[in-house]
């Protein structure tokens, strides 16, 4: 059974790129446009891995991760953060919020799939 990945990103370009890369790699893809939408999607889906952006309207990535980790059903889902910054400070902050790992943008499909493989059981 192929794995389901939830991507949360407000940019349509980024969502399309994520979808293309993930579908090509054989994943099921579910998408959301911001943190609030992401939590809504999670109410009906249990993805194997979540990939989320940080800067988003309504609810940013940090808030979204905290929301996921606060939910007993979803808190064990690995979450990868998409970040343009490779700075240690940004990574720390994502990690403090409960992120499992991160992908530095711009990503290529190999890098993305590799990161997902590393955290997906």
């Amino acid at each position: 059974m192929s794995k389901t990945i939830l991507t949360v990103d407000d940019s349509r370009t980024m969502r399309d790129m994520l979808r293309l890369a993930l579908v090509d790699a054989g994943f099921n893809v579910v998408q959301a446009e911001d943190g609030v939408h992401g939590l809504e999607v999670l109410a009906g889906e249990t993805p194997d891995v979540i990939v989320t952006d940080i800067n988003m309207p309504r609810m940013d990535g940090y808030g979204f991760i905290e929301g996921v980790r606060a939910d007993a059903r979803c808190r064990a889902i690995p979450i990868l953060v998409l970040t343009t910054e490779s700075s240690a400070e940004k990574k720390m902050r994502a990690r403090d919020a409960g992120a499992t790992g991160w992908i530095v943008k711009p990503f290529n499909p190999e890098k993305l799939v590799e990161a997902i493989r590393r955290v997906a059981a």
Binding site: L20, G26, P57, T100, F107
Partner: protein, 744 residues
Amino acid sequence: MDPMAEIKATFFQECEEQLAELESGLLAMEGGDTESETVNAVFRAVHSVKGGAGAFGLEDLVHFAHIFETTLDEVRSNRLPASDAVVKALLRSADVLADLVRAARDGGAVDQARCDVCAAELSALTGIEESDAGDDGMGEIDFQPMQMAPLDLDFDAEAPAEEPAPEPASWTLRFKPRPELYAKANETVLLLRELARLGEVEVELDAGDLPLLPHLDPEGAYLSWTVRIRGDATEADLREVFEFVDADCELDVQAIGLDGEPMELANAELDIAALISLAQSAGEETAPPQAEAPVAALEPIAEAEEPAAVIPAAMAANSVEDRRVEDRRGGEDRRGEAKPGGVAQAAPTIRVDLDRVDRLIDLVGELVINQAMLAQRVNEAGLARASNVAGGLDELEQLTREIQDSVMAIRAQPVKSVFQRMPRLVRELASITGKQVRLLTEGEGTEVDKTVIERLTDPLTHMIRNAIDHGLETPEKRIAAGKNPEGTCKLSAAHRSGRIVIEVADDGGGINRERVKQIAIDKGLIPAEAALTDEEIDNLIFLPGFSTASTISDISGRGVGMDVVKRSIQDLGGRISITSRPGLGSTFSMSLPLTLAVLDGMVVTAGQQTLVAPLTSIIETLQPKRSDVHGLGGGARVISIRGSYVPLVDVGLSLGYRAEPLDSEQGVALLIEGEGGTRAVLLVDAIQGQRQVVIKSLEANYRRVPGIAAATILGDGRVALILDIDALVAASRTAEAPRLLQAG
């Protein structure tokens, strides 16, 4: 289309939206909006552009966006106050960013000097050197998404440079996770799996810290592992495996030489491959959440002292099935498309190909015609008004009208998209002319058909140029006149009786009528002795060949005069008028139809032909008395209506349907108001009725005919021409002096 090319197209589309968002956010900040959400939205817009640009390798764009973003981040975190000067610099940067995006999209060149100046200005604001831009890792790799070397190669390439010494053949790792590691959904077994990819591994579990059940915290972490790896993995490779978890575990990596002492392996020596196969078989069961993996470790403790079983149990969370590529394109969930990107709290929208909407509009047009035909057939069949068929037909008409309105609403867009381009224009004009200008906009949400919007930009741009270049005075003159040195240019839109009215108003000096008249006389546009009303003088600026600037300025003098503006407005079925008060300013007012697809018309007969007159132009209809009509010579006639004389236009004669003028008592007169409020009376043979007609372009299907705006298909299936009233009236007065027909 190639999927990447498609995504790139999406990116540029999205950029346009982000740029619009950026500009409106910055303008709000300029207006004193200090909401953190506004600043955040502005930051996000630039951030998004940068992110996408990085993915497509648009280095110039990434570079500038990064500097811009850095500055915005300072503003966002209140380290840099959003003062007037800062916001102005940000606005200029937004313009540069827009240029860069367009250059990236259309392949044009950008004004590099301007970019550099702007980037330097931003850097100066933050005090952060431009060269710092590289520290976000954007510069390190080529961004071609599909053509990257696999991850492993990067490290192979890097590691020898760092550690030229031969790598030891064997490593020992000691690894003790902390509870946080599990709380973040990291999983030991996955880390072990990664290690197993690097070489031959031996894993030893140390369960010595595991407390008895009553003392066990289900979310605690009690286990630790020792792993020995043989193979040519480098230390960097090993550390890389623990990249995500190094803050949440104790990790010790030790090299063992080829002749090094083999490790003392205790009772539980495991082969990782066996572990994985065990986990795979366990994977089918319902998995406990991984964060609670230590709980699963209870099982072996309770049953038997067999630590080896701990690991499979802990791994049972999910199948350790390796990355198996199955093509599941069909299974993707489309819910992500249901909402627009980046707009908080917006109603859900979908994107539809414009062609589909146009097709729908065409079909609805056909439906309207068909409904009209049906009505006519029923009427001809002589059915009673009260019959079921007639009742049903009324309902059909109602529904058709509603469908039509709804379909038209799909094409309707707020004028915001056009208004949004104007602040930049105003800024540029202000800096070129040295005038201080404040642009106010009103009614940005007013909706109008997309076609109208698309064709609105050029006339509006020119009108604003005109208002700033000719209308507003220099700050010195304004101060001398006792005005605020900063001039105001107001752009507003509103719906008024089925049309959209767009006004460009300035608080400048108003039209200098003496000068306008003198220029018109000098250019031979009017006779020197002509006595004109103020309104007529104002309207002279719409005459072809008129330009009030004594020297052709850089701004207005681009080969476009107000006559072109007027023509393009008229082509849209609109009217333009001016009101001007000396010393107080001028207002240009455009009135446009909401749609170019349908029209409420009055169906009339002239010389055996069925014609349609746009209802919006008609003020009243009347039965002329012969005594009211006066001949003026040259075939021209005027009609006296309530004491004022209005030119009479014989439609049949003007269009050449008849050779002899129609006797005014035989016809019906339509009093119409044309552009600029000029009135005229159209004389036709008879009025057939009033109905909504679907506009079919005559120009596209046949050719342009003077005096005819378009065509339509009537209920009986015949083609009827739609009158271009302004052109008809204008044609009838060309022979005479304008004043003569304006009598009264």
